[in-house]
């Protein structure tokens, strides 16, 4: 089973981190990546630039409409994602709980549609 872990957090507080705190966070993600990479669970994942760099795109009646900003203005934003491979939801929940952001933000676990 493949799952997408979407990492939600408050961008503003992330941007306000001191250099030391930022380094600590990166180290935590390195550790997470090493641990779950070695277990063969991690299938991919990236950190995303903030929603201020986001662009939304729609095509209606053949007309392209682009706009600045994210799809929805929310209190917490997607800051990154992982794709993982697990046997079942309990294992996926275990991996989600190990994502450093789970302690300050929220991790949404979504099964990937097997096509």
């Amino acid at each position: 089973m493949k799952y997408l872990l979407m990492i939600y957090g408050d961008e503003a507080s992330l941007a306000a981190l001191s250099p030391e705190e930022g380094a600590q966070m990166m180290a935590a993600y390195d550790k997470f990546g090493e641990e779950y990479g070695a277990k063969g669970v991690l299938r991919g994942g990236e950190r995303l630039r903030p929603t201020s760099d986001a662009t939304t795109v729609r095509v209606r009646n053949g007309q392209l409409a682009t706009a600045d900003g994210p799809y929805a203005e929310t209190k917490e934003q997607i800051g990154g994602y992982f794709v993982i491979e697990c046997d079942n939801l309990d294992e996926a929940i275990g991996v989600a709980a190990a994502v450093p952001a789970a302690h300050v933000g929220t991790v949404e676990v979504r099964p990937i549609w097997d096509m």
Partner: protein
């Protein structure tokens, strides 16, 4: 993974349903596991024969129903426990957990469950379909969780059974004060859980709690369907057999020496059930138990109950102090029992005008018809012949 769940659900459900029908009358067979296996197998065969299912499917089904292997009761026990934990997985909404548990473990029909929760058949059917789809799509495992997840998940399972019982016992909405069938199902399932998890004292605690409450069922509502409070109940109508079983169950739970909120609540219920007359009730003990409960499971509702116990043990004035503190904290604003408790204490202190105001406030918040009539009766008392 998903196949296991569907097939196991299909045949196990029938066998359990039959067991629940038959065992109360015929008694539990000497080897309940073997009995269940046999029934599950016969049911599966019948069903497959009728449906003309192909060989491969049949093979699969046989594995689940235990055909071809010696019927081992622990295998069946494992199957039922797996079902319980799958139904009560925290990734499902609590509504869905309750509905699935009733459907797969109690064998209730969708219509019966819909009626119990006062929603349309269609809504309940959708809820069940959605829950089953999530079990499949998100790969909720069909198993008893491993050790490190067990405490959290067991709490979830106990919570679902407790909710089920409460829904039946207090019927938060609508006319029928006690929905007997829900209570009975909750007790059956709690009994099953005790059997399946003999080392879990909180499962016993929950069963004891249910039995000790259920024993007072007949006395709790009068002929008109109105609520009768503990001190006004006809204690002769309490079910002595259920009380005895509840007390014995609680005792065996306490002997396991791992306390928990259900055991403490059962101990409180035991204090009431053991009192032959209302004035024999050990309110000091009850107040202490509520204090312990508020440490184990802090909640303003528990605090409110403690206030009532303190009022009974040390007088309405002392209880009212605690109620005032709760009121000031604001966590129970809008909860009809806060206003009703305040009203009751003021009535006992003969502060009639304040009591009347509090009864009116409670009436504005209450949902159930029986409780409403009770409050109206009290309001009439304090406003009459001042």
């Amino acid at each position: 993974m998903a196949g296991d769940w569907d097939l196991a659900e299909e045949c196990a459900q029938d066998a359990f349903a039959r067991a629940l029908e038959r065992w109360p009358d015929d008694g539990v067979p000497t080897n309940p596991g073997a009995w269940l296996t046999t029934v599950a197998r016969h049911r599966a065969l019948d069903r497959l024969r009728r449906a003309g299912v192909e060989a491969a499917k049949y093979e699969e089904m046989v594995v689940v129903s235990g055909e071809g292997s010696t019927a081992r009761s622990d295998e069946i026990a494992d199957d039922r426990l797996r079902l319980i934990f799958t139904c009560c997985h925290p990734a499902l909404t609590v509504d869905a957990q309750v509905a699935l548990t009733l459907r797969t473990l109690a064998g209730l029909t969708t219509t019966e469950i819909a009626r119990a929760f006062l929603v349309s058949d269609e809504t309940m059917a959708k809820r069940l379909v959605r829950a089953k789809a999530k079990i499949r799509h998100a790969a909720i495992p069909y198993r008893v969780p491993p050790g490190h997840l067990l405490p959290e998940r067991t709490t979830a399972v106990l919570g679902v059974l407790y909710l089920l019982f409460n829904e039946g016992y207090s019927a938060t909405h609508g006319a029928q004060m006690i929905r007997r069938d829900l209570c009975a199902e909750a007790i059956r399932l709690a009994r099953l859980l005790v059997e399946l998890m003999p080392d879990e004292p909180e499962a016993r605690g929950l069963l004891a709690l249910m039995l000790l409450h259920d024993a007072r069922r007949a006395a709790r509502v009068d002929a008109a369907g109105d609520l009768v409070t503990l001190d006004e109940q006809d204690r002769a109508t309490w079910d002595a057999g259920e009380i005895a079983e509840g007390l014995a169950t609680l005792e065996s739970a306490l002997r396991q020496r791992r306390t928990g909120p259900y055991q403490v609540q059962a101990a409180i219920a035991a204090c009431h059930d053991s009192a032959a007359r209302p004035e024999d009730t050990d309110w000091h003990e009850i107040a202490l138990l509520y204090e312990e409960l508020s440490l184990l499971a802090p909640s303003p509702v528990v605090e409110l109950n403690r206030a009532v116990a303190v009022a009974m043990a040390r007088g309405p004035e002392a209880g009212l102090d605690l109620v005032d503190q709760l009121d000031a904290a604001g966590t129970l604003t809008g909860y009809h029992l806060l206003a009703a408790t305040r009203a009751d204490l003021l009535r006992r202190l003969d502060r009639r005008d304040e009591a009347a105001a509090a009864y009116r406030e409670a009436l504005g918040l209450v949902g159930g018809d029986a409780e409403r009539r009770y409050l109206q009766r009290r309001l009439a008392e304090v406003t009459a012949s001042a």
